[in-house]
């Protein structure tokens, strides 16, 4: 299957003067899987539908392999699309559903039958050809939809929250399966999701969207470890956000004063910054009993009281309160033989972390 490069060039969509997608430019490399991630109403689905041709952009263009798609109707774009509710034709059997796109392309009955067979094989539903969609489970229905989308050998695959209707276990196994299949076929794929885990699991590149704009584009690691904005830091995973003035510069870094009892040592900071926001991931923080900690008054370290403690299987969540009332969230991985929570509510502890964990957020 050939791979296409998809390029969005200053794509915008307005509905009655409300801007759904605002000047989005993005290049998706051939064979990559890109996830458009954001809360509902951020414009990700509108973006996907504009790429499919189901929605006409107010301005801007979609290019596929440098061919301008504006004005090309949906049915000539050769895109494979998956929908959250599967969108299988209820009056057609599984085979007929898969054959639909082939029939539209005028492929002979014999060739179509062979391709349908191959597609059924690919999605592991060979024995289900004669059934109707209503006789299948959700996961099976989405496999049929996948077969139907792939059999036409599309230029790209578009996934609109494809696994959102499945329950957790099935969703996770389908994510891995879909990702493996996409890699094997080398098919350029764009998916829309509000589920950060899904985006992190499946995508080569994550595009975080907010209010119709691109918030950050990057790999899973980049997005998670170096969020470009407060929004990204909070939307992807959990973050402890601290805010304060630069107290003292040292080399390329600085000390940030957050509160009387807490200062942060930041290794890299822009020269012009005088007032910064810092995010620290909850799993980067180590909790220790008072007295066990080497020195309580250093940077990146603070004494606090355990406000809430939640045991969640392989991790425990601690919500700590500092003396000045600031909250710190800590995720601590549990050991296999550990007897429940290590710290009790009300206990006085020291929270500390290494300075590389302090990530300065450029936009806040």
């Amino acid at each position: 299957m050939r791979s296409s490069e998809v390029r969005l060039d200053r794509l915008s969509k307005e509905y009655n003067r409300t801007v759904a997608v605002d000047d989005v430019s993005l290049t998706i490399e051939p064979g990559h899987m890109v996830a458009l991630l954001g809360p509902s109403g951020c414009g990700k689905t509108t973006c996907l539908r504009m790429i499919a041709g189901l929605i006409r952009p107010t301005s801007g263009d979609v290019f596929v392999n440098d061919r301008r798609m504006t004005g090309v109707p949906v049915h000539r774009r050769n895109v494979g699309m998956l929908f959250q509710n599967y969108a299988l034709f209820p009056h057609l059997t599984v085979e007929e559903n898969i054959a639909f796109g082939l029939e539209m392309r005028g492929i002979s009955k014999a060739d179509a039958a062979r391709k349908v067979g191959e597609a059924l094989n690919l999605v592991q539903l060979s024995s289900f050809g004669k059934r109707y969609p209503a006789q299948l489970s959700g996961g099976q229905q989405q496999r049929v939809a996948l077969g139907r989308a792939l059999v036409i050998e599309p230029a790209m695959l578009l996934l609109d929250e494809p696994l959102g209707a499945l329950d957790k276990g099935l969703r996770e196994s389908m994510q891995v399966e879909l990702r493996a299949l996409q890699r094997r076929l080398g098919l350029t794929t764009i998916m829309v999701t509000h589920d950060q885990d899904e985006a992190l699991t499946m995508a080569d590149k994550i595009v975080v969207m907010r209010d119709g704009k691109l918030e950050q584009v990057g790999s899973a690691t980049e997005i998670y470890q170096r969020p470009a904005s407060k929004f990204v830091a909070q939307f992807i995973g959990a973050s402890n956000l601290f805010h304060g003035p630069v107290e003292q510069r040292n080399g390329s870094g600085a000390v940030i004063r957050v509160s009387p009892e807490l200062s942060l040592q930041v290794d890299q900071i822009p020269q012009s910054a005088s007032d910064v926001m810092v995010s620290i991931r909850p799993e980067a923080i180590v909790v220790e009993r008072v007295g066990q900690s080497p020195a309580a008054q250093r940077a990146n370290s603070v004494t606090a009281r355990v406000d809430q403690a939640i045991y969640r299987g392989f991790v425990s969540h601690y919500y700590l309160k500092t003396q000045s009332g600031g909250q710190i969230i800590v995720f601590e991985q549990n050991q296999s033989q550990q007897a429940g929570l290590r710290y009790a509510v009300g206990e006085e502890v020291v929270a500390r972390w290494e300075s590389p964990s302090n990530h300065v957020i450029a936009r806040h």
Partner: protein, 267 residues
């Protein structure tokens, strides 16, 4: 089911249901009974049993001519109202345009306005336009009156069709027309069939609009029936009525057989 409908409650429920059925069906049953009465006047209870009134009716040139006209008119009306109503319903449900609500109200208005007024207005307009052909005028009038029924049933069934199905078909290479034909229409078939049946029946027994638009040469069944009723009220009138009742029943049963009446009306 068994638990809910048993004991005294069930008795009350069945009694009320039977009472309602009798209330609705009694006039029809009465007509049917009288139609086989072996007397020259319409009397109840019927006296004796005869099919001679049916024999008379089925040899009555006026009645047969009226039947032929009414059936053709109803078929034409059904086709016309489907041709007009289905696309209109599609536009009302899928469209996003200015004045949608107003147009919706307008298209359904013949259901609200008295048919008598609609008929008179149509007569005036058609006369002004110089349309002399009573058959054409009747067809136009009946399409106007029946289209709202089609629009309503099709709108309700279209609202239940997932738009993603259409989007999926289009991404798979179907243009809008093919998408409608191959994907949307099969989903709304029951609504279309129900609308069509309504159109046929409403056209077939419409009196108030027909009265204005028919002439002496082209008189559909309701007018002939009325004329007969005024002239000689013998059991041939109930016989004609019975034939119409049986026709309606066949229509309903046919719809039930084809798409399931419950589904068609619920949709």
């Amino acid at each position: 089911m068994d638990e809910r409908f048993s004991g005294f409650g069930a008795f009350i429920l069945y009694t009320i249901t039977a009472g309602m059925m009798l209330f609705i069906l009694a006039p029809l049953l009465l007509v049917m009974a009288v139609s086989v009465s072996d007397s020259y006047f319409v009397t109840f209870p019927p006296q004796g049993f005869t099919l001679k009134w049916y024999a008379k009716v089925l040899q009555d040139r006026d009645f047969l001519e009226a039947m032929r006209l009414s059936i053709l008119l109803a078929l034409g009306t059904t086709a016309g109202s489907l041709l007009f109503g289905v696309p209109a319903a599609f536009a009302l449900v899928r469209g996003r345009f200015f004045g949608l609500a107003a147009i919706k109200g307008f298209l359904l208005s013949p259901l609200i306005f008295p048919a008598l007024v609609t008929g008179l207005a149509l007569l005036q307009v058609l006369t002004k336009l110089g349309s002399q052909d009573a058959r054409l005028n009747l067809l136009i009038g009946h399409v106007v009156v029946t289209s709202p029924y089609v629009i309503r049933t099709v709108v309700t069934s279209l609202q239940l069709v997932d738009e993603n199905l259409e989007d999926a078909a289009r991404t798979l290479g179907a243009n809008r027309l093919t998408t409608f034909w191959r994907v949307t229409l099969p989903q709304i078939a029951s609504g279309v069939a129900a609308g069509g049946l309504f159109a046929f029946m409403v056209s077939f027994d419409n009196y108030p609009v027909t009265m204005w638009l028919a002439n002496s040469e082209y008189s559909p069944v309701p007018l002939v029936l009325m004329r007969q009723l005024v002239n000689v009220f013998d059991p041939s009138v109930p016989a004609m009525s019975t034939i119409i009742i049986l026709m309606a029943m066949v229509g309903v049963l046919l719809l039930e057989k084809l798409v399931g009446l419950r589904r068609a009306l619920a949709a």
